[in-house]
């Protein structure tokens, strides 16, 4: 009798426990089917949360498998949608400890629980957890970048406005660009064409965009001097843009009658096919000046060497670190990295572009100060720990997740 009372007391306490546990316990429908033998490891600490920094529609589940007991064969992740219908969303091996459910609606509450299976029988069930997926407008991992970019853009706008108001903005001489006029003049004197190679990448590449801006200036110069300008391209869109830009240059020079669309032609998208084609143009047309400006890869040396062999004055420029050495070795002038991007401002001397360049310099100065401060803080931090946190803060400021 005493034993029976104890059993009833335990059962009542258990029921009270279930009632108080709200929605953190396994659903009743599951409990009816699960053996609850407790020999099989149960999923513990099941967590469900919205995946941050996304467009929503996803819930991240993570869990740990209890260490004591028999390891299950597999895990079944169950889900109940807002309408109350339950479904199995996936079956996973027992060693997996997280899962992303990418088939949920934003703003709706979903419940999840995980069943531990052994020999095809659900032997244990986790607690039930809930989550709501939502979309985020702001990517929190890029806040530091947003602040720095905003600051730099503010400075750039300030300098652009200063330039527009007539403030004289100094820009140092860039040897390669100072030689543009000489190169075009040489071609005119020799009665040979100018060859402009805008790299092998498409118009979505920053270097190609920078190159096309320079092409506009070179086209204007060649139109003024009356030299033919040849522009073989590796991408059809680049060809279209180059045609427009060169035409604009000829119009600005008042020589639109001498513009020949056929001189700006598409060869092939293939890297070495393009290199072979440009090499052929070099040896047959024998240009007196060659511009290799843009994004280049392994074809850079092939082009630069062939250009050198035909005796052309060569001005090259790229932001590809691995190709710059070849241009330095084989060309007369080389624009290194950033100089390629500064070229448009240098050649045009437009206050808008010069202001932008000045603003970028301010950005570089900011980073330089940041590096010096960070290195000093990190170095002193080895001996005096408070400085370590300063270095860590600066590192965090420039960290993009």
């Amino acid at each position: 009798m005493r034993n029976l009372s104890a059993v009833i007391a335990v059962l009542l306490l258990s029921l009270a426990g279930f009632a108080l546990a709200d929605n953190t316990d396994p659903p009743e429908s599951v409990l009816q089917n699960v053996g609850l033998a407790h020999e099989v490891c149960r999923i513990a600490d099941l967590q469900a949360s919205d995946i941050p920094n996304d467009e929503g529609g996803s819930v991240k589940l993570s869990w740990i498998l209890e260490s004591e007991g028999i390891r299950p064969d597999s895990l079944e992740i169950m889900r109940r949608d807002p309408a109350g219908s339950e479904e199995l969303i996936t079956t996973l091996p027992a060693n997996i400890t997280d899962y992303s459910d990418d088939s949920v609606r934003n703003g709706a509450t979903y419940s999840y629980w995980i069943l531990s299976y052994l020999g095809g029988v659900a032997e244990a069930c986790s607690d039930e957890v809930q989550a709501v997926a939502s979309a985020q407008w702001l990517y929190s991992g890029r806040i530091g970048m947003l602040i720095i970019l905003t600051l730099i853009m503010a400075v750039i706008i300030y300098y652009i406005e200063s330039g527009k108001r007539g403030k004289e903005l100094y820009i140092r001489e860039i040897a390669g660009l100072a030689a543009v006029d000489d190169a075009v003049g040489r071609a005119t004197e020799m009665g040979r064409p100018v060859l402009y190679v805008p790299g092998i990448m498409d118009m979505d590449n920053i270097q190609t965009i920078a190159s096309i801006v320079i092409l506009g200036r070179v086209a204007r110069k060649t139109a003024e001097y009356g030299s033919p300008l040849l522009v073989p391209t590796s991408r059809s869109v680049v060809m279209s843009v180059a045609q427009e830009v060169v035409k604009e240059g000829y119009l600005q020079a008042g020589r639109s009658d001498t513009f020949n669309r056929e001189n700006i032609q598409y060869l092939t998208d293939d890297q070495f096919g393009y290199a072979a084609g440009v090499d052929g143009i070099m040896v047959r047309e024998k240009p007196a000046a060659i511009f290799l400006l843009g994004c280049f890869y392994a074809e850079s040396l092939i082009l630069a060497e062939t250009g050198r062999s035909v005796g052309a004055i060569q001005i090259a420029g790229t932001a590809m670190p691995s190709q710059i050495p070849f241009f330095i070795a084989a060309c007369d002038y080389t624009l290194i990295g950033e100089e390629l991007f500064a070229a448009s401002a240098y050649l045009s001397r437009e206050p808008k572009l010069l202001g932008s360049l000045k603003g970028q310099d301010a950005g570089k100065l900011f980073f330089l100060i940041l590096i010096v401060a960070g290195v000093v803080a990190a170095s002193i931090g080895d001996f005096w720990s408070p400085m370590k946190s300063v270095a860590e803060f600066l590192r965090k400021l420039v960290t993009v997740n």
Partner: protein
């Protein structure tokens, strides 16, 4: 016909035709060049249709499970704008498509460029120059000095005179040392490509000559 031997001979002949450029421009090189350019251009047309146009546009507009996504008409219209260049009267329409490509390209790449070329580099340079062994300290000092002086070299709004000029000189010297190392490294890779071609000619092509002439095995 032995297709394998035919392939080897074709490869070898075209290799020799292209290498003949080392002497001077000649009809053999011209033939190989035009074949290469023409075939690759044709190949890329088909590649673009099969791997870009179909999966990224057509199949998005008409999904396999049926239906019609009208939003994909918009890129189709922009593509037609590009083709408008053929007709001089409406050629100006192509500028809209070109403007979108350039604007979107610049905007999307700005974030990536800033992230990898500025933020990540700065983060990687905020290091201690007083911890670790002697070589670690020397290595870290070279890294920090290289980055700072290199950055000074790329200041365009300041004349390279006085202390700025001297700092910039250190920067460009370090850059040149790095370029020299990169040059040597890449040349080694190119030599290995040349060796690969030579091996093809010596071990794959030359042994087929006696077979073709009916000499030996």
């Amino acid at each position: 016909m032995n297709w394998e031997i035919l392939g080897i001979w074709l490869g070898a002949m075209l290799t020799l035709c292209l290498y003949s450029f080392l002497y001077r421009d000649n009809p053999f090189y011209k033939f190989a060049e035009h074949l290469f350019v023409g075939m690759s251009a044709g190949y890329w047309v088909i590649y673009s249709i099969e791997n870009v146009l179909k999966p990224n546009w057509w199949q998005q507009m008409f999904p396999e499970d049926g239906g019609f996504n009208w939003i994909w008409i918009i890129p189709g219209i922009f593509a037609l704008f590009m083709l408008a260049r053929i007709i001089p009267k409406i050629a100006g329409l192509s500028r809209m498509a070109l403007g979108m490509i350039i604007g979107a390209g610049a905007g999307v790449n700005m974030v990536g460029f800033f992230q990898t070329n500025a933020m990540a580099q700065v983060k990687g340079t905020i290091i201690s120059v007083s911890s670790g062994g002697a070589w670690d300290i020397i290595s870290n000092i070279i890294l920090v000095v290289g980055v700072i002086t290199g950055l000074v070299y790329f200041f365009f709004s300041k004349a390279h005179t006085g202390i700025v000029g001297k700092t910039a000189n250190v920067g460009i010297t370090i850059l040149m040392v790095a370029f020299g190392a990169s040059f040597g490294y890449t040349i080694m890779a190119r030599i290995s490509l040349l060796i690969g071609r030579c091996q093809f000619l010596i071990f794959d092509w030359i042994p087929t000559i006696p077979r073709l002439l009916g000499i030996g095995g």
